[in-house]
């Protein structure tokens, strides 16, 4: 399992939630929120999309497998959110 987090110059820690980080999050003040919705695409049967609008991100679509959408979501968060 890989955990990836960042700390900016003001000490704000950003992370993709993982139960191993629960204690860390409980030691501070801030926000914990849903990052995306990964759903079947109603326009293309069997395809999946990741809607990152909860964190101001794009809708990533056209994934043939649900796991591909989940992986793309995490990769987007690693690059743009952390």
């Amino acid at each position: 399992m890989i955990v990836d987090l960042s700390v900016d110059e003001n000490g704000v820690i950003r992370c993709i939630y993982n139960d191993d980080l629960a204690e860390l999050i409980q030691e501070g003040q801030g926000t914990l929120q849903r990052a995306s919705h990964v759903e079947p695409d109603p326009k293309r049967l069997g395809f999946w999309f990741a809607d990152l609008s909860p964190v101001g991100g794009p809708v990533l679509e056209g994934f043939k497998l649900r796991q591909e959408a989940l992986d793309a979501e995490v990769e987007w968060l690693r690059v743009h959110y952390l």
Binding site: G11, I16, D20, E23, Q33, R34
Partner: protein, 214 residues
Amino acid sequence: MSHVAAVQLEILDLKALKATAERLGFEFVENKKNFKWYGRWLNDWRDNTRAAALQGFDPKTFGQCEHAIRIPGGDVHQYEIGVVKARSGNGYELIYDAFGAYGQKLEAMGGQGMVKFKQPYGIEVAKRLLIKKGYRVSEIVKDGRIRLQAVNVRGSIIAQEVDEAGNVSIETKGFSGSDCIKETMELERALGRKTGDMKTVEFYKVQSKLEVKR
């Protein structure tokens, strides 16, 4: 489907604070109950954001602390940073005298309001937690942010052997119960057909615990 967190930590972990102070070039003096400052409150500083007296600290307590942070090898009169109990009642805050050359020297190392403590303190707390949870942690600095990448090393593949016929054997160590099977599954798929496996003692230890619970 992930969740994300953005969190600013309060100072709760003194070991992490000590490591942070040392990282910035200070010395952490545990249980030193006073810190050096000008010594008399003159009520002559009106900066709403920085003056401690205007932020709820009682000037009568200036100079008192739980622990102190100082510049190693400094002038005998050099001001110090006090680690005081937080006004919220939870954890600690840092307080210091910003007056004159001695105050400026503290701010040169710790930043105005000791802001330079914030980032390394966050890193130290996160690193300590992840190491405690069994992760191997590496630090990457990029665009003013520090990234921590951590890989769980609770278990690992300790040996792979290939015999003359091309058969591969994989040995694992440190996994609990069937975790080793999950971890080696991908490698097995890439290598080809599995011909057998021999469970280690660690595998059976956890299995027997489960049976007792039933």
